[in-house]
Symmetry: C2
Subunit: 187 residues, 2 copies
DNA sequence: ACTCCTATAAACCGATTGGTACTAAATAAA
DNA sequence: TTTATTTAGTACCAATCGGTTTATAGGAGT
């Protein structure tokens, strides 16, 4: 027997997409109900704390996904394989440049002040995990941190530019360029 | 005799800073009046079209500044000097990473749909102007466009990461890195 | 003095905001 | 089946939204 219940994780995914499209302030409760087809009753059942709790849970959800799928592999598995996996996951997660980074978007306006710790930790861990993998793969100690930072900067910038130009190809070729740059530093 | 009238350009500058801090949707009229100390009467006198007109005028104002201070010099003057000037202007305009790019922020959420042409043109012209200057300075034809795109991506990404980490130093060292990368391609 | 005209202030508008209360339906436990 | 308990739908709330209107203040030109 197949259970097809609608649970909180489903609500998180639906609401997350609305925040991604409209931003935190732009996502009004009525827009959220309209786009997710979830009634206010459902939303306030899952998120008694309202919008703020939705955003917090969504960010925790995103963070957990990145930790499992990218950061932990970078920290624990074969570094070259994990880095290769990171580029693939990054491309698929951001839908090849069509999907924005919710946490990056939150960082730009005053929304950041409500979630500053979560935002900071997300980016910090990404950079540290990648820098650690680069180190273990043979990148010189002086370069690893800077290269990891450069990669994360490039991903965020490419997402912005891809949307600004309405040209998703920007994202794909930026990932390729960053990938090659990291590879030149390992033997 | 010194004229100290308060004119529209002053209002544009004040309101622009509010949009930068809060985003388009986050900047409610009451927040704008509170932060700028301008009454609604004043604001609707300068901008009869309300918030949307404010944003449009602000973006036109930003665009005009970049055209005068960076794009035209890149297109018309000594390319190496213009590129050096671009890095200085970029650092000062974005307050060494403390100030976000309003047009980049608008590009991320649905605000983009209201100003898509202005957003696209701004980034497109920046990349084209820089690519042209690189070409004239001796960068190989195949690299110029990609390098210019990489530079703009890096600037946007660094602004995002600097705010996300609460560490403005990220911005400064990214500018240095990008500057050096461009220079290695010219003799 | 007297108009003009620009600029600011303040009261006010209907619509929409995030959030609550209450109810109905579905599900699980007994 | 009966009884709890969770989940979802609707109506409604005070507060705030973006925007309008009316009134007034202050020069500049005559």
């Amino acid at each position: 027997m197949v259970r097809t219940v609608f649970e909180k994780s489903d609500a998180i995914a639906l609401v997350a997409e609305v925040f991604r499209e409209l931003g935190y302030e732009g996502a009004s409760m009525s827009e959220i109900t309209a786009r997710t087809k979830l009634s206010k009753g459902s939303l306030y059942h899952f998120f008694p704390g309202g919008k703020e709790e939705m955003a917090a849970e969504i960010m925790a959800n995103i963070d957990a996904w990145f930790v499992t799928e990218m950061f932990k592999p970078l920290e624990e598995e074969d570094p070259r394989a994990a880095i290769a996996r990171m580029w693939e996951m990054t491309d698929s997660y951001f839908h090849s440049g069509r999907r924005v980074c919710l946490i990056g978007a939150f960082a730009l306006d005053e929304t950041r002040d409500h979630f500053s710790a979560a935002i900071r930790d997300y980016f910090r861990r990404w950079i540290e995990a990648l820098a650690g993998a680069l180190l273990r793969a043979g990148t010189p100690d002086t370069d690893a941190k800077m290269l990891a930072e450069e990669a994360v900067i490039g991903i965020q910038g490419a997402l912005t530019l891809a949307r600004a130009l309405g040209d998703e190809a920007v994202f794909g070729r930026t990932l390729v360029r960053l990938k090659l740059r990291l590879e030149t530093t390992l033997g």
